[in-house]
């Protein structure tokens, strides 16, 4: 392919990257943050997949088989740890305005500058080769695409464009703890590009060059040398696989670029929820086609083709120019996104932890700090960026050839893994000490260098190769490839075992035997118990004198007058600090200024700067513990108060509920009383009126007198019946009525009850149809109460049954239950009334029907009695077809 097309496309892509970043920052100015989005967050985490993934996975799969998967299984497992570990780290980072992984560790161990510097050096040494690897990948892909027609230095130009990008979007603000909006948006965009390009290549190979997965795999399985790639092979292969998984687990959390996008650039902790499954899903997608492409390359391309270039070489082999370009752009995106983020993370560390501490250690410099410091910091960062890229380029040109692609990545992972003990120990173990962490890291890193870098250098004859055979100075147990005589593992596993083992041992052993300083105790408390101290004001332990105007000026020098003024005023407002008050600044304010400065220059340097304008008093360890204890108690008290107030709210809600319940019951009772009095008045009216008539009219004839008096008697009976029923119901409802249980034969009982209706039935011309078991049906219940139920039901049926019809009574026993049905052939109950007929006085209140004889309480009483027996009563009725009342009660209540 013509080289200028390739170069133009590559540059156009970088221009597009600029556009995306600018767009994100433009949107932010308009008040909308693109990166405040869980999907963008998850995609930015995928910066994990570099050119090493893009080209190297296929290369490794083509030589080692499914071994390559380890690098993705690790992060997938680590995703499960996002919640306990990553979310805790994010909380701490936000509370303390931490701006890099070195800053994180040094802040934890008492804001110590030496530990920050050491970690920065570790990161630079471990990561720069990895950046060089990306540059190398770009160069190789350019060569493949243009068939080596391109000028050697083309990769330098691409690096230069990248440097411009990083300088522009990586040093936007002097506050490194602020989000790099444009950079994150661009990286998320690149994650999409590399996935699309790789999957496109995969689909082309699998479905274009072959007939789907089965075809590729079957053809591969047919060849002996490819068949072994389906499984893990080699000596101690499971151990090296395990090593790779562990290394990549630590890498996905602690590589400077992963820490940058995963922690520093994290907008909201909630985004983790989606990232937990989106990130592994992304890894799955980008790995689906690795094996098909690897087999495809082996099956189709000449044996001399470098397996690392298969992704690109296959589309080229088929002369598919557009796809080849797309694949190239995908690889470019994988490489550039890694370079961008890693360089920004490293430049923050270089400027904050290496350059600035040297400046701040000069008394003359510190006392001369003024407005220009901001420009200086930005220039230091920009200079660091250029320097890092330059070193990477030099490494690529002069040293990289001595390492294999894969080994550079894994060695880098192993170097960063040296930070894992002090980070994990730091957030879970309060006794972890600065010295322990520092010594652990130094030992671990030295062993790492000795066991992984030295052998590579020896292989290149840069140092005497005899060291690999006889050990240094002929001391064989110091042989860097078989330290202390450990043999049989691959070099990475061997190096990792010794470096981590000695690192962890030193870290724990020294931590156990060192006394913590006051500052360490405070920071340990804040890190390990972050959930208690997520409001930084609650954790303030500082005593001394500070002069507010000086503090103000200090902050203004670093972040600008306007912003400093703004922040200080806001903070003073929020915490009711009187800024007008003369004299000493509030300790809260001192703490606040230090935290803001920490975001700019790192916690250690910030502490130095703040100490120049304040006089801090030494606080003894004893006092620290006392103060921590007090603030703990304060927090506990707060928690307790909040709990109490919650309880109060709940109680008041319950009271409200109870009150409305009572009110409802009261209303129901009023209504009941009103209905009862109303029902009493009707018979009372006729009794009074009729007896007055008899009393006043002595001239009544006998027949009339008898008629009136008989009416009085009837109405009096009705009255007393009503009163009895009201009292009964009241008794049943408030639970004062107890069941007087006795055992009796229900068949006989029913017969007797029906017999008592014999006269009435004869008068009305109504028959009974009985359907009962022939034998005895023994039940245990309150006989008197059940009698009331039967009488009520049969009495009701009698009222509605026309002459010549009959009332049916069914009694069935069914698995310890008695089911009794009384049906009539009357006019039935309209459907809409059926839900209410068991309510008190329902018929009295519902005045569109002919008032039947009765009190309106009968069915309510029946229901109550049945319920007292633990049973239920229902009605089934269709208009004009009669009503069927059925009650069920346990045979032994």
């Amino acid at each position: 392919m013509s080289s200028w097309i390739v170069i133009v496309c590559g540059l156009l892509y970088l221009v597009l990257l600029f556009a995306v970043a600018y767009f994100a920052e433009y949107k932010l100015k308009k008040g909308k943050s693109l990166i405040n989005n869980p999907y963008v967050y998850a995609l930015s985490l995928c910066v994990y997949c570099t050119a090493w993934t893009y080209y190297g996975s296929v290369g490794r799969a083509a030589t080692e088989g499914i071994d390559f998967l380890g690098i993705y299984i690790g992060p997938t497992l680590a995703a499960a740890l996002f919640f306990p570990v990553l979310s805790k780290i994010i909380q701490i980072t936000k509370a303390q305005r931490i701006n890099s992984i070195a800053d994180f560790i040094s802040t934890r161990y008492g804001k110590n500058i030496s530990i920050a510097s050491v970690i920065s050096v570790v990161c630079i040494i471990a990561v720069i080769p990895y950046i060089a690897l990306q540059i190398k990948a770009i160069a190789i892909s350019l060569n493949v695409l243009t068939a080596n027609t391109l000028a050697e230095n083309s990769v330098i130009y691409i690096t230069l464009v990248l440097a411009v990008f990083i300088v522009i979007f990586g040093t936007r603000s002097v506050d490194a703890s602020e989000k790099h909006e444009g950079m994150v948006a661009a990286v998320a965009f690149e994650s999409v590009v590399k996935l699309v390009a790789f999957v496109a290549a995969g689909i082309f190979v699998t479905y274009g060059a072959f007939n789907g997965f089965t075809d590729v795999f079957e053809q591969a399985a047919a060849k002996t040398d490819l068949r072994k790639l389906f499984t893990l092979n080699g000596e101690n292969v499971y151990m090296s696989w395990f090593t790779i998984i562990i290394l990549s687990m630590s890498a996905v959390l602690f590589l400077p670029r992963q820490f940058q996008v995963g922690v520093i650039e994290n907008v909201s902790e909630k985004h983790l929820k989606k990232a937990v499954w989106l990130f592994p899903l992304y890894l799955l997608f980008i790995n689906v086609f690795v094996l098909p492409i690897a087999f495809g390359g082996k099956l189709l391309l000449p044996a001399t083709t470098d397996a690392d270039t298969f992704v690109l070489a296959i589309p080229l082999f088929f002369k598919h120019d557009v796809l080849s370009l797309l694949v190239f752009i995908g690889g470019l995106s994988a490489a550039t996104s890694m370079i961008i983020v890693e360089t920004i993370a490293l430049s923050t560390m270089v400027s904050n932890n290496l350059v600035m501490p040297i400046l701040f250690s000069q008394h003359a410099f510190v006392s001369g700090v003024d407005q220009s410091i901001r420009k200086l910091i930005l220039y230091i960062r920009r200079f660091s960026i250029i320097l890092i890229l330059l070193i990477a380029l030099l490494f690529d040109v002069f040293i990289a050839q001595y390492f294999s692609l894969v080994s550079i990545g894994l060695i880098s992972f192993a170097g960063i893994a040296q930070l894992a003990p002090s980070i994990l120990g730091g957030i879970y173990w309060k006794s972890a000490s600065k010295t322990g962490a520092l010594v652990g890291i130094i030992i671990g890193f030295t062993v790492w260098f000795y066991t992984m870098i030295v052998p590579a250098l020896a292989n290149t004859q840069l140092i005497n190769a005899s060291i690999l055979i006889n050990g240094p100075f002929g001391i064989s147990w110091l042989n860097p490839t078989a330290l202390f005589g450990l043999k049989g593992f691959d070099s990475i596993t061997h190096g990792l075992i010794w470096s981590i083992l000695l690192n962890v041992a030193a870290f724990f052993w020294i931590s156990l035997y060192t006394k913590l300083s006051a500052q360490e105790v405070i920071q340990a408390e804040l890190f390990v118990d972050i959930s208690k101290y997520n409001v930084p004001e609650q954790s303030l332990i500082w005593r001394g004198t500070a002069y507010m105007p000086k503090l103000h000026k200090l902050l203004a020098n670093f972040i600008g007058q306007a912003r400093a003024q703004n922040l200080i005023n806001n903070y003073a407002n929020r915490h009711k600090i009187d800024l007008e008050k003369q004299g000493n600044a509030d300790p809260l304010m001192v703490n606040f200024v230090e935290r803001i400065l920490a975001g700019v220059i790192g916690s250690a340097s910030a502490r130095i700067m703040v100490s120049t304008v304040t006089k801090e008093e030494e606080i003894s360890l004893k006092e620290v513990f006392k103060m921590l204890h007090e603030s703990q108690q304060f927090i506990e008290l707060n928690k307790e108060l909040r709990k109490k107030s919650l309880e109060l709210t709940k109680a008041s809600e319950q009271l409200k509920e109870a009150y409305s319940q009572l009110k409802k019951m009261d209303e129901a009772k009023d209504e009941f009383l009103y209905t009862v009095t109303h029902e009493l008045r009707t018979p009372l009216t006729s009794i009074r009126s009729l007896s007055e008539i008899v009393h006043d009219n002595t001239d009544l004839d006998e027949e009339e007198r008898q008629k009136f008096l008989k009416a009085v008697v009837t109405e009096t009976e009705r009255l007393s019946h009503l009163i009895t029923q009201v009292l009964n119901l009241e008794k049943y409802e408030n639970g004062r009525q107890q069941l007087h249980l006795s055992s009796f034969d229900f068949v006989k009982f029913t017969e007797e009850t029906i017999a008592s209706f014999a006269i009435l039935a004869k008068e009305n011309g109504v028959d009974f149809k009985l359907n009962m078991p022939n034998s005895m049906l023994l039940i245990r219940a309150d006989k008197d109460l059940l009698q009331q139920v039967m009488v009520n039901l049969i009495g009701n049926a009698m009222k509605f049954t026309k002459t010549g019809d009959c009332i049916e009574v069914h009694v069935v026993e069914d698995t310890e239950q008695l089911e009794v049905t009384v049906s009539d052939t009357g006019k039935g109950i309209p459907l809409e009334w059926q839900p209410f007929i068991f309510d008190k006085f329902f018929q009295a209140k519902n005045q569109t029907t002919k008032k039947p004889l009765g009190t309106g309480l009968g069915l309510a009483i029946c229901k109550r009695i049945i319920e007292m027996h633990g049973g239920s009563i229902v009605v089934k009725s269709e208009p004009e077809k009669g009503a069927r009342f059925t009650f069920t009660i346990p045979t032994f209540a």
């Binding site: 009103y674 008045r681 009707t682 007055e692 009219n697």
Partner: protein, 123 residues
């Protein structure tokens, strides 16, 4: 008072009807009896009584509706309406008067009192 003023007594309780019928007849009215709203409306139309003694809670049409009908019908504009009800709440009584009733007497009542009030009303 005319020699034979017509009075319509409407109630669904047979015993109250029994006493009211006796009392009104003795007081010199020509008495008609209705046991529900429908009957009442029929008798109103056919006999055009000058007084109606009206219960409120009744099957089919209730007393209020009958009162409303009487008071809004030209033919019955001279007809007096007397509610005779066990409903004793202030709101119920007010409702009766609002519908144009001439009297509202609560149950139970004293015979003499009832008769006097009706007589006074129609003089």
């Amino acid at each position: 008072m005319g020699v034979t003023s017509k009075i319509l007594v409407v109630d669904d309780d047979p015993y109250i009807l029994m006493s009211l019928e006796f009392l009104m007849r003795k007081s010199g009215f020509e008495v008609m009896i209705a046991r529900n709203g429908t009957e009442a409306l029929q008798l109103l139309d056919s006999h055009n009584p000058s007084v109606v003694l009206l219960d409120i809670m009744m099957p089919d049409v209730d007393g209020y509706a009958i009162c409303k009908f009487i008071k809004s019908t030209e033919k019955h504009k001279l007809c007096k309406v007397v509610f005779l009800s066990a409903k004793s709440k202030e709101a119920d009584i007010q409702k009766g008067y609002d519908l144009g009733a001439d009297l509202y007497i609560t149950k139970p009542f004293a015979n003499k009192d009832l008769v006097n009030k009706i007589k006074t009303m129609i003089v």
